[in-house]
Amino acid sequence: MIDRVIDSRGLDSFDLRFIGLIAVILSVGVLSIYSVTHSQDTAFPFYLKQLVWILLGTAAFLVMYLSDYHKIARLAYPTYAVILILLAVVLVMGKSSRGAQRWIPIGPFAFQPSEFAKLVLVLVLANYYSRVPRVGWLQRVVLPGLIVLPGLLLILKQPDLGSGLSFLAVYAAMLLMVGVRSKALGIILLLSVMLFPFVWEMVWASLHDYQRQRVMAFVDPDYDPGGKGYHALQSKIAIGSGELSGKGLYGGTQSQLKFLPEGHTDFVFAVYAEEWGFVGVLVLLALFMALIWVSLEIAARAKDTLGALLAAGIVAMLCFCVVVNIGMTAGMFPIVGIPLPLVSYGGSATIMTMASLGLLLNVKRRRLSLFY
């Protein structure tokens, strides 16, 4: 709906609500990272590094915001090809951490291609669906599925279960957006149910031991609480013991005393929940919901299919990460290793998320630009 009434403040596409929400959520992240790691005596502490990532992320945000998303979309296939190569490189020479190869070392830093792959996938699929004529389910489901597959396989091989699931989430969101016939949906569902045992066998076989044990630990929380269920249990204890108002900044004994592993990365939400309690949790959930809500608004007001698909894909991806990350720290899902967008420490994830949000705002800018 291009003739939609524009924002009365509308002169400025640089949506201040949007920017403000991002800034506040980023601050929550830096504060929480500082709280967990402040006792560590390192020359270049994590919170400072995170500020650097935010700075780089801001640059990425501006680049994505200021360029034309149509041009960016046109670069989607070659970029995807590069990402696939990088994913392959990771497998060959990547840096290992906790049994998974996810990083390419660049000087003192490490670059995680699978994080960027998510955004590139959104671009690829949005580009595909906005160009390909809407015929049959082959073009709508199978072909894009074949595009997703190599990236998915390379990511699962690392293995990075979290990014793999994000891939599937983006794909599913796109399918939802372009509309899948109810009959087709039924067939897909039926096939999924029938194929599930075989796929599960394959996935199970491809999993590392620690991942299998995590799944086991999820199914049975008392399964070896000192071992593989340890993350899940300690995370639940951290969150639960925060109670209504939390233990206060630096007061989280779970995180301060290192009972909670990966407190500054994947489990940063548990740190926050322990320190700020249910009240703080509701505030953060509200912040995320507002950000996503505003993003959905942008998607809903996109001037073209490409913009709408891009926006929807990005929102779906963000939404998925937020829900799965919080869900896993709260013991609702198995632990799959997905960072909390804008909050968890991490260069690749922060830059990728901010670039995605820049692209999202770009979609809004393009819409408004018609009038100027």
Partner: protein, 627 residues
């Protein structure tokens, strides 16, 4: 759905479907909020508890055991700092691996460690004591592996130490970890796995006083079990100090006198019952026994032929031999069996039926009265009076003097010996008493057995004019909390029903034993000594000179004595196993002990009237900081 290709005309369609995303978003956020409400509000207190337990470990602070002093304040048992290793199971990720690691680092049997981990009540949060008295090297080794050993903690605790080593070991006893069986009992209810309790000697009998009360420390730990800070502390209360009646110098002298021989020496103050020395040989080093022993070490000690753990002074039961004649004399005179002037003709043997009971002196003593019979230890005289009195009269007096019963000394497992009587024999052997058996009993052979402590008490009672005072080993307890010293007064057990004249006669005769009788080797230039020798037969058939008999078949040598004769302040019983005649082997030892006492306490034997003697002022207590 339209089948046309994607183009901007479908934008509306697309955008409409975003509603699904919106609804989905609201749903999942609501679900997340609900889940977090459940965790933080509904189950919050539960997780709060878990997080507290996660970070706090309750560490027991072992109390310092009370000190033990001798009568002059010389330190006999104290505490020294030492490293103790604990394991908190809660912090252990892989207990099998930990056990293996500790086993190799500490050179311990992994079964032992496993057992320690499983003993005792309490949760996985309760640290288990694995080993104490770690060497500095072991402690350093553990500390250097700190990061690989989550849940392992080294505490500095005080350990029992006996500065004198083996001296007075049987009296002091030793300590050890409370056993699993002991933990079940009510008296150990406030203890836990790894608590130290007295296992022998006064350490055991006075454990309640000496033990103290454990404190508690709440320690905040991190995920690796590393101590961050102590949160709450309940201070441990040190145990009370014990003051023993022994004089450690006299104790040492007594033990040295026995040397490598097996035997016992008991010296006591007959007026108060204070045990001045109580030696038993062979002995042991309580410092060794207070450590964790391997099974092999323990078996070696227990199966040692010399039975070093046996306190011969109160657990060794021996025939009293001729020392029993002291009791016999009192019995014979009091039961009017004989008068002091009654004489018996001794020509070297006593015929009973078709058996001849020999006197120790081949030619006999000729015609002897009570006085001479005691001085020269005439067997035939006592055969005769014993036969006239009958066993039950003998038993009655023996019991009056405290034989056949506990003296009541404050040590565990005192033995009582045997005072035979017709009733005893019927009960114990289900047989009648044969008159011939009385003849053996009359000279302290046959069924009669006594402990050296009992004999010291008997001779002490004679010295104390018939007043029997319970032997005691603990003079006072210093209650640290109340800051007061609680004295234990001497306890009079009773007065034997023996006329003063009879006792006077016996005492005078016993004085003559030393001056001109069988115990001239006990004669001292320093002090007047009265005593009675005894030779307890261990083998029925003995021929030829003593030195030709294998050592383990030789007789036990006895000597019981008191001094000074005029106002006795020390009574001594010496029993030297397989040393032959009391007069030659035991009497000199008693003399040495008495002389040492006289030198150490000249005032006590200075002839001040009984009952008005001033006590020896105790030297200042050795001031030592408590560990």
């Amino acid at each position: 759905m339209a089948s046309a290709g994607f183009n901007d005309s479908d934008l509306l369609d697309l955008q409409r479907r975003l509603v699904i995303l919106r609804v989905g978003l609201l749903l999942v956020v609501a679900l997340l909020a609900l889940r977090l409400w459940h965790l933080q509000i509904r189950e919050g207190p539960y997780y709060r508890d878990l997080s507290e337990n996660n970070r706090t470990r309750s560490v027991v602070l072992e109390p310092a055991r009370g000190l033990i002093f001798d009568r002059n304040g010389v330190l006999l048992a104290n505490n020294v700092p030492s490293f103790t290793l604990y394991v908190t199971l809660e912090d252990v990720k892989d207990s099998q691996a930990l056990v293996a690691q500790l086993a190799s680092l500490l050179n311990l049997d992994s079964d032992v460690i496993q057992k320690k981990l499983s003993i005792g009540k309490g949760s996985k949060l309760q640290p288990r004591k694995i080993k104490d008295r770690l060497t500095l090297r072991e402690a350093t080794l553990i500390e250097s592996h700190r990061l690989d050993l989550p849940g392992v903690m080294i505490q500095v605790e005080s350990q029992r130490n006996y500065p004198g080593g083996a001296v007075a070991a049987h009296l002091l006893g030793y300590v050890g970890e409370v056993s699993a069986d002991q933990l079940e009992k009510a008296e150990f209810a406030d203890l836990h796995q790894g608590s130290i309790v007295g296992q022998y000697g006064v350490e055991k009998t006075f454990d309640r006083q000496v033990r103290g009360r454990a404190g508690q420390k709440s320690v905040e730990v991190d995920a690796l079990g590393h101590e961050k800070r102590a949160v709450v502390a309940e201070r441990p209360v040190a145990g009370d100090d014990l003051y023993l009646t022994i004089d450690i110098r006299l104790q040492k002298i007594s033990e040295d006198l026995l040397g490598e021989e097996s035997g016992a020496i008991v010296a006591l103050d007959p007026t108060t019952g204070d045990i001045l020395a109580m030696a038993s040989r062979p002995g042991f080093d309580p410092n060794v026994l207070s450590k964790e022993l391997t099974n092999k070490q323990w078996v070696e000690i227990v199966q040692n032929e010399g039975r070093p753990l046996n306190n011969r002074a109160m657990q060794g039961q021996y025939p009293p031999g001729s020392t029993f004649k002291v009791v016999m004399a009192a019995a014979a005179l009091e039961s009017n069996t004989v008068a002091p002037s009654t004489t018996v003709r001794c020509n070297g043997g006593y015929q009973f039926g078709n058996r001849l009971f020999r006197d120790w002196k081949a030619g006999g003593h000729g015609s002897v009265d009570m006085n001479e019979a005691l001085i020269h230890s005439c067997d035939v005289y006592f055969y005769t009076v014993g036969q006239r009195m009958g066993i039950d009269t003998i038993a009655e007096y023996a019991k009056q003097f405290g034989l056949g019963q506990e003296t009541g000394i404050e040590l565990p497992s005192e033995r009582v010996g045997i005072v035979p009587s017709t009733a005893w024999k019927q009960k114990a052997r289900n047989q009648p008493w044969y008159p011939g058996e009385t003849i053996s009993a009359a000279i302290g052979q046959g069924y009669v057995t006594v402990t050296p402590l009992q004999m010291a008490s008997v001779i002490g009672t004679v010295a104390n004019d018939g007043v029997a005072v319970r032997p005691r080993l603990v003079q006072a307890v210093m209650n640290r909390a109340a800051g007061e010293r609680v004295e234990f007064p001497p306890t009079v057990r009773g007065k034997v029903a023996v006329k003063p004249a009879t006792l006077a006669l016996i005492k005078s005769a016993l004085a003559d034993v030393v001056t001109k009788g069988t115990a001239t080797r006990a004669k001292s230039p320093l002090v007047t000594i009265a005593g009675k020798t005894g030779t307890a037969q261990t083998a029925a058939l003995r021929t030829g000179p003593e030195k030709d008999i294998p050592k383990k078949l030789r007789d036990h040598a006895w000597f019981v004595a008191f001094a000074p004769v005029e106002a006795p302040r020390i009574a001594v019983a010496v029993l030297a196993e397989h040393m032959g005649h009391g007069g030659s082997a035991a009497a000199p030892l008693a003399k040495d002990v008495i002389e040492a006492y006289v030198k150490a306490y000249p005032q006590a034997v200075g002839g001040a009237p009984a009952g008005n003697r001033t006590k020896v002022p105790a030297p200042a207590v050795e001031a030592r900081p408590r560990a």
